[in-house]
């Protein structure tokens, strides 16, 4: 493990191990490293800034609870963290209100949201959009066109294939490759 004072250089796996070992600095570093990603994802998914902030608190409380079960599969814990976010969001949607099981379990007290907090959610969302937009622009032209046509414009594969004069399978492959490349790049950033 890295030097205890040098938390910023710790990997996600090391920080999560630190959380299990009751190291508050490890949690704080993990939180600050991933707050924007979680907040932007939840704000994008819900379209509701208050709910996104509330869900973010639940996600990080869930991270604390789930940290002992974390298994290193990638360089970062992005996929794991987004999985937790999806679970929290899915459970909240099923129940019709923001999930708070993890917070109740560890005894987190309710916090009030202010206008500046909501602005921060907006900023996270904008930064997230900007980042994705830059990454999409950096994709190979064919993958970018297919991805935009399918994901952004929501056009059917057959129509896109006709436009690009190729098979539907080729379009599906381009979209799939483009998404995989985006995921990989988002994971690294």
């Amino acid at each position: 493990m890295a030097h205890p004072r040098d938390h910023a250089r710790w990997s996600d796996a090391e920080l999560l191990a630190g959380i299990v070992a009751r190291d508050p600095q490890a949690f704080s570093t993990f939180y600050r490293r991933h707050l924007r990603l979680v907040l932007a994802t939840l704000a994008h998914e819900t379209g509701n800034r208050e709910a996104a902030a509330d869900l973010t608190a639940e996600v990080f409380a869930s991270v604390m609870v789930a940290a002992p079960r974390y298994q290193v599969r990638q360089d970062t814990a992005h996929a794991w963290l987004l999985g937790i976010s999806r679970n929290v969001l899915g459970h909240s949607r099923r129940r019709g209100r923001v999930d708070d099981r993890a917070r109740r379990r560890i005894g987190v007290q309710a916090l009030a949201l202010g206008d500046s907090d909501l602005e921060r959610v907006d900023a996270a969302l904008d930064e997230g959009r900007l980042e994705v937009s830059e990454l999409v622009q950096a994709l190979p032209a064919l993958e970018r066109s297919a991805l935009v046509a399918r994901i952004v414009d929501e056009r059917p594969y057959a129509e896109i294939a006709a436009q690009f004069q190729c098979s539907e399978t080729a379009v599906r492959k381009r979209v799939s490759r483009g998404l995989a490349r985006l995921r990989a790049q988002l994971g690294e950033s």
């Binding site: 190291d23 508050p24 939180y31 608190a57 604390m64 005894g107 202010g114």
Partner: protein, 93 residues
């Protein structure tokens, strides 16, 4: 100190991390729980087997059959009429 929502959340969760509030408090009792569960299961099995034996052989478990047989034998011996040695001899003759 910044008092916005996300900073306060960071502080609160960090404090709870150092308290170990997120760790499963029941984990340390799990081996004991397991032993207790196994003991109860073993005792239950013994009681069940004993109950099956009693149901299958109702007298033998308490020794009633042997006692009842012995009592009946004694009663039949006591109530049998005394036979005169001569009568027996006469009948044979």
């Amino acid at each position: 100190m910044n008092d916005d929502y996300f900073t306060k959340l960071d502080e609160q969760l960090s404090a709870l991390t150092s308290e170990g509030a997120h760790l499963d408090r029941r984990a340390r009792w799990r081996p004991l729980d397991r032993a207790a569960r196994r003991t109860v299961a073993a005792l239950g099995l013994v009681v069940l087997l004993a109950a099956l034996l009693v149901i299958e052989f109702p007298g033998s478990a308490s020794g009633n059959v042997q006692r009842a047989t012995a009592r009946m034998a004694l009663t039949s011996i006591a109530s049998r009429p005394a036979v005169a040695p001569g009568a027996a001899r006469g009948r044979l003759a």
